[in-house]
């Protein structure tokens, strides 16, 4: 694709060059608010790629000037396209220009990204189960996960088969958490309920 056809969006131009009308940059006094003036302030010069100039190509061409919007789910990423799809070559050709692979990836959400390492053997698992069976009070899941350098989720999966009955501790833990929640005031409770509702909505992607 012709490099000249890929233009920066309006926002970039606004910040960089003085392309917009002067009224936008001028700090308008408070009392000047009116419908006409507000509309005038929004009267921005269009992006230069939309204007016909001497430099613009003579033949029919496509102006590619995507807006700032979150990407659509209907645009399948290159990695997800099957091997026989024709878009693979097209996307691969333009991908370098559109989304150049950054030299540094953005920072991860969690400091230590949890990768599964699968380093525990059967003997280790037997050891985990033995420790729990022998001293259930001393070895809780957190301690075991720290000792064996794995997730507490994995520990709980291991211990579900060792025959140790944890219903009592589960009940005690639930009672403790319920006691904590009972002490909450209306604001914290409402915030908690809102958070749960938001997660439900996020799972439906609305």
């Amino acid at each position: 694709m012709d490099a000249r056809l890929l233009r920066r969006p309006v926002i970039d131009l606004l910040s960089g060059r003085g392309q917009c009308l002067t009224s936008l940059n001028a700090s308008s006094p408070r009392h000047q608010s009116s419908y006409r003036r507000t509309k005038q302030h929004l009267n921005i010069k269009p992006d230069s790629s939309f204007l016909i100039s001497n430099e613009s190509p003579k033949q029919d061409h496509i102006i590619f000037n995507p807006p700032s919007a979150s990407p659509s789910v209907l645009h399948t990423p290159l990695k997800f396209l099957p091997k026989e799809d024709k878009r693979r070559q097209l996307l691969a050709a333009t991908a370098e220009k559109l989304n150049p692979v950054p030299s540094r990836l953005p920072p991860p959400v969690s400091r230590k990204p949890k990768m599964p390492h699968h380093h525990l053997s059967d003997a280790d698992i037997a050891e985990i189960q033995r420790l729990k069976r022998d001293e259930p009070e001393k070895w809780n899941n957190m301690k075991l996960s720290r000792k064996f350098n794995c997730s507490s989720m994995f520990i709980s999966i291991c211990l579900s088969q060792c025959g140790y009955d944890d219903t009592v501790t589960r009940k005690a833990e639930k009672a403790r958490l319920d006691g904590v929640m009972d002490r909450w005031g209306p604001r914290r409770r409402m915030a908690h309920e809102d958070k749960l509702k938001r997660m439900e909505i996020a799972l439906r992607d609305e």
Partner: protein
């Protein structure tokens, strides 16, 4: 079961695919005696057969309405009705009114300000302030 499906219903877009004429029925009411029905009666005698043959999608009924002005009443698929009084109109004007009712979609009249109305999602996406990185060429 990991992903669940949510049950919804599709939305009809009349004219995309098939087009259904929205006028379901036209009732023609006339009076034999009154002079305001003169044009209407002549329309019923001379042009209604042709009009009905040209518009087979519309159910047409004719009924007298003695000592009242003549009326054309259209019934529409959305459940609404539109009635036009055609008193003292000529045969051609009555035909015009009938065609007006046939072509209407039954909704209340409203000002159309935008030339295109669509329920499709915007291909450019909804503007978001968090994605204005732009493309650096």
């Amino acid at each position: 079961m990991v992903v669940q499906g949510i049950r919804k219903a599709t939305v009809g877009q009349n004219g995309v695919g098939a087009f259904i004429l929205q006028c379901k029925r036209l009732d023609f009411h006339y009076c034999d005696w009154a002079g305001s029905s003169k044009g209407m009666n002549s329309f019923l005698k001379n042009s209604l057969t042709k009009f009905a043959a040209l518009n087979p999608q519309v159910e047409i009924t004719v009924s007298p309405r003695p000592r009242r002005h003549p009326v054309i009443r259209g019934t529409y698929i959305n459940g609404r009705e539109k009635a036009i009084c055609v008193r003292n109109l000529t045969k051609e004007q009555v035909l015009q009114k009938a065609e007006l009712l046939r072509d209407a979609n039954g909704e209340k009249l409203k000002k159309v300000t935008k030339p295109v109305k669509s329920i499709n999602e915007s291909v450019r996406g909804v503007w978001s302030p968090y994605h204005d990185g732009g493309i650096h060429v």
